[in-house]
Symmetry: D3
Subunit: 226 residues, 6 copies
């Protein structure tokens, strides 16, 4: 199966000073590859991006330039993860759509960071899923699925096993939680998922094995039906 | 004043076979320049983009590639409009953020089409407004402002003179009209306008003089207060 | 056999408003590939290019910029045709000679539009034939070969089965028909064909099966002997 | 006046081992600039290009790659001539049409070598003349104008003071001298000159002062009337 | 005076978690500009580069890729410093020699990070000094000049006021201190300084005012006479 | 075995006017490939580069621009050698690190010339050895190994069979022979060899068979132990 995975930068690169442990995720991706799946990955910027953006903003950078700096850090994160994957990975990180097409031609795992200001890494992952013809888009977050409200604030929040895109939009609207706010998925990504009918799973990425479960159909997160 | 204007492709390039009349808009932009304003322009893809996208889709192109093709047409439209502006315009159309920075360095009117798949020309215009430090973002549409519901379907729709971004989001949500649906403004553009506090005017672009009025503070459209 | 085919934009994209039917040509190319031939394709700009160039010219663009705009449309046409070919095609359209070398390295069908102002798509196709080491260059037109004069104007025009390049130049000269005028072949292409000794067939491209016939040696057009 | 000058590589870089003396030509260009003219220059490849092409061909390079290598040498020649011009020259040599537009935006003397395989430096110079809006195109050669036949072979060859493009084509045809053969001007360049109505002067470039005379209207060469 | 300044990343970006205070250095550069000097700046990678390189190395990246990652961080640092300088700075960070030439054409303060693996930021700064025609190259370090041995290890180390390049090489050799080891200057930079005869000052960069003193001839560091 | 070979431009392209005979070296590389080795090659600029640099310098080019011109010639030399190798070679010459990664992905013999000003071709070859994961770096010169002093000046110079990098640095220092001076190896290359522990052989490249011997462990030159 062709599958695009958005790996949260906050999970892979959670703080500024310690060395990240990428091995558990590398092993999970290797297993997916070993089982014959065709994998595409977007890596977020995480804490280092947040920090660099703050430095830029404090020195007068406009928000688009801040986005651009965050994208550069996400690209470096993707590069480091590609090195951890070794020969399985396409050796270059595509930085625009033309390069993406060249990367897809290598037949290897294509890793990306970001593309252009104003676009979240969720949206980039949705574009990659669409362009690579992925049947499944797995979105890793730090919660374990879609809830009726933010589960970190409301202990009674109810978790959904399945939602349609229309229902997901209603949930996000009615609960007063705007898309993106707790790092779930944003409206651009939803638009792309809908137009290309890509089955999407929002899962707890803190355990890398959940990615395997999601691809094998055993996940505990939320399925977004396009 | 620094002002970014999104010129609707559907207004400038309304059909597939006739020659567009760009002169009225060229005169409006020349007047803005003559009054000392610093102008940045995004031109949409219009009918030619819609047609080329349809050809690509019917021949098996994925939606991201379709977006990319629409962007290429928008870039050609921007190129043609830049030629109509003559020496006032930056002679190249920036196709990514690095080129945008080189274009801004020329001190001329910078014209753009699109950037990357998944991003509307509205979002590109908001990025350009942000990066150029524009105080005003004028968004031309084929209606004369924001209504409580789609005025083409509902004759009782009430037009707003001023809205906050929060109110605009609520109006778009509650009326069941999703952002973008009647070519108004999308959620990415709104996010950028909010974060950089750019005053935004949604006006009827079918009369080029409305752009001058919007910049001079005499418009009849809707002001979005960031 | 390595073969480069110039597909006339006027045949593939004959008008501005209807959807082109690329399937017959796709099937012809697939059959060539299925028989073990190695195929390289240049797609012309056709009517959409002619229309965009006219829009640019009417708005003050110099002729080189008009060429450039026509090349952009030819590139989009090549992109759409590549999508119709699916996995057989190199996923990117090379836009300069460096990219051409990267495209040739993929081992897939390489599709191009144009390169630089002042160069016809015929010349681009000759360059592609030369660089790819093609033994045969098939040039599709809307007439069925080389005539002693323009067959659309002169009913007595005699059709040639074989010509040398020297004879072809004489025919074009003596008949008062300058190269390129009825979309046959231009002097740059002739120079390249001569220097690299590439057998060239000028055929009626309105029937896609003629391309197969030309490659298999059964064509009815005109052979240019280098 | 805006003027584009094609400087023959065979004049500036006449042999492989000695140092070229560019100063006389530098002084001529400085004088043109000093008199208020706006100058654009294409420098040919000369002997070094001829030698490098021969090396490439002997080692199996196809003719398009040979062209490309000749273009690289012409670009280096243009770079060296730009250094000799110092601050008057645009500091980079544009290698495609996008870069040409950026170079024109600098307001300095733009120098080019070549663009793409299959295109002579004469054709590149015509494109530059067209894109820069030059009123005059001065083409330096090693003969002193257009003759009824090759003056180096036929002592009775008659020199023309003025020719139309149509007459020039007829002269080149009827004399059996194909365009380009004695380094005069080729058919692509003629097509561009005709379509953009650029007055063209073919002069003896062995004396740099002839370039000044040509611009000031005192030349002894041949005027091609577009 | 044209002056190139290498700003140590370890001084500007000294740790991983706090916000750097770039203002004192911005004021120093503004003063230099205000006094009519023409300034070019290279910013090093500092602690963030060191950290990112360590992450890459621990995940299997070869050393050239590590260099490349360090260069990317140095480019981001240069970008942030350029934002702090506002309109005085060239809005893009040149990433290769072609872009450097475009940046120099803007007439603004050009800021760079790094170029290619295997090249220190000292060497990049020397290349920038050479290409920009700088008469002075100011190299900021965390010691106050060149000593007979490492002053941090040997309290009797003697500080030099002036050295020739030959003497500096001998000092570095005889003291067993290899170039670069205490962040002074490396052999590539020395080679460039020698061949282009660029006066070089090695100063304590922890006080930004030392940069002004160095340019005005009042510094306390070490002058390297080329 | 993965092996990177630096082919001296002075050996391959020894003079300005005659045709180089690349066949003996082509046969040596073919044999290496035939024995299953994975080969990467850097070709130097040789006499043509020296001549072009001299022309540039005499016309006012700064030394960095001279370097850049030498790099361009080395790239052409690499291109010509790649043509002589035919299908064994990657069809494009990478000109920066991003392109190098794309070239490595082709699985063919990657050929390079140079990268950036201030970097010798020795240093480029060391970067290529490092990035390609080569176990062996073969450096061809016009002497037959490392001597205690320059063997062309001192007939008593003693040749070393093996040296450590530390010893090699001491030899180069103590003998008053600065790195690079007799085309051996420079300090940047030594730094890269040391950090990545690449076994390096300095051999007499005037006989191409020595390259085979070096790879098979039978060479007569000097081994540098990292």
């Amino acid at each position: 199966m062709k599958v695009t995975i958005k790996l949260s930068g906050h999970i892979l690169f959670p703080d500024l000073t310690s060395m990240p442990d990428l091995k558990p995720y590398v092993r999970a991706i290797e297993q997916l590859k070993g089982r014959g799946h065709c994998v595409f990955i977007v890596v977020g910027g995480g804490e280092p991006a947040r920090h660099y953006i703050k430095m830029a903003r404090e020195n007068g950078a406009d928000e688009s330039t801040c986005d651009q700096i965050g994208i550069s850090i996400a690209n470096l994160n993707a590069k480091i993860f590609s090195k951890a994957l070794g020969d399985l990975a396409c050796p270059f990180i595509p930085k625009d759509f033309d390069e993406l097409e060249k990367a897809l031609a290598t037949g290897k795992i294509v890793l990306m960071g970001g593309l252009q200001p104003g676009q979240s890494t969720n949206a980039v992952a949705a574009v990659l899923a669409e362009r690579s013809g992925s049947e499944l888009f797995v979105n890793t977050t730090t919660v374990d699925g879609v809830y009726s409200s933010d589960p970190r604030k409301n202990p009674d929040a109810k978790k959904y096993k399945k939602v349609t895109i229309a229902e997901l939009e209603k949930i996000l609207d009615s609960s007063g939680v705007k898309a993106g706010e707790y790092d779930l998925i944003d409206s651009v990504a939803l638009k792309i998922i809908r137009r290309s009918k890509i089955t999407t799973k929002i899962i707890d990425g803190r355990d890398p094995m959940n990615v395997l479960k999601a691809v094998e159909g055993k996940e505990e997160g939320t399925i977004v039906i396009p």
